[in-house]
């Protein structure tokens, strides 16, 4: 490990801690929330500022230790914020379909009528 100035170390450590903590809280939410639609919000902590802080820590560390700007971490931020929504959207819509199909009353009905009842894919 290359020696870096203390200010930088503090900054890196702090950012890393905040980022990890946010991610941790997000995952806590994932574990603690009662319904799927609530849980779906939890991981976004990690994918948004959880990731941003950790990656910022990385940028600072490598920029300071390598004496040149290391910003490729930005890519991760960009792509994570671009791709995570895709997963969540697809997943949420699938959950919606399944809940409707099974007649779980807690979800708004589809625009037109109700889907027929089907067995869940959990049984696969």
């Amino acid at each position: 490990m290359t020696e870096i100035p203390v200010w930088a170390a503090i900054l890196v450590g702090l950012f890393a801690l905040i980022g990890s903590l946010l991610t941790f809280i997000g995952c806590m939410g994932l574990a603690r929330f009662d319904s799927f639609y609530q849980r779906i919000h939890a991981p976004t902590l990690g994918t948004s500022f959880g990731a941003i802080f950790v990656l910022a820590a990385s940028i600072i560390y490598f920029s300071v230790s390598g004496q040149r700007l290391a910003v490729h971490e930005v890519l991760i931020v960009i792509f994570v914020s671009l791709t995570t929504p895709v997963t969540l959207m697809l997943l949420a819509r699938a959950a919606l379909y399944r809940d409707r199909a099974e007649g779980n009353g807690n979800v708004p009905a589809a625009a037109l009528g109700k889907d027929t009842v089907v067995k869940a894919a959990d049984d696969l």
Partner: protein
């Protein structure tokens, strides 16, 4: 001719930037190589014939990004608080049906990303016929506030950018 070589100039530029970031270098060689790769990547995308987004005001994008960044940061803190409150908290989560004027698929995609990437709100289902979207909100105290935020802060900007 130009369209054939460079079907998506903005995208290709983005790919060049991506390349340079990946190489962590601004050397001329890398720029040349990156341009070749970016051109190729653009052609590859062109083969898939996606809908062409028409971006009228690209610089508004930066505005939008700043807006989103701030919102996301606050949302992070809000959701973190909710998580930490645990079960003592009153259940406030709920669904929200949102009518949209936006029709451009790319614009809708960006809006979906913004809403979903923001902790506390999630894009669930888009009804293309009616132009409505179902959103789930973790802390749904006031429906209208959410509708306003989304419509005024994001949709308006996106409409400006794309249409």
């Amino acid at each position: 001719m130009m369209r054939q070589i460079l079907p998506y100039p903005l995208l290709s530029l983005g790919m060049l930037i991506l390349w340079l970031l990946l190489q962590q270098s601004l050397g001329l060689g890398q720029i040349l190589l990156g341009s070749v790769v970016a051109l190729f990547a653009g052609r590859a995308l062109a083969a898939l014939q996606p809908e062409q987004p028409r971006i009228r005001r690209p610089f508004k994008i930066i505005h939008l990004m700043g807006l989103v960044a701030v919102d996301v940061l606050w949302s992070n803190l809000a959701v973190a608080r909710i998580v930490l409150q645990g079960r003592h908290r009153k259940q406030t989560a709920g669904f929200l049906l949102l009518p949209l004027e936006l029709r451009d698929r790319s614009a809708l995609a960006i809006l979906a990303c913004i809403i979903t990437a923001t902790p506390g709100s999630a894009w669930l289902e888009y009804d293309a016929v009616r132009g409505t979207v179902l959103i789930h909100v973790l802390d749904l105290v006031d429906d209208q506030e959410w509708i306003d935020t989304i419509k005024h802060r994001y949709e308006r900007l996106l409409l400006e950018i794309f249409q």
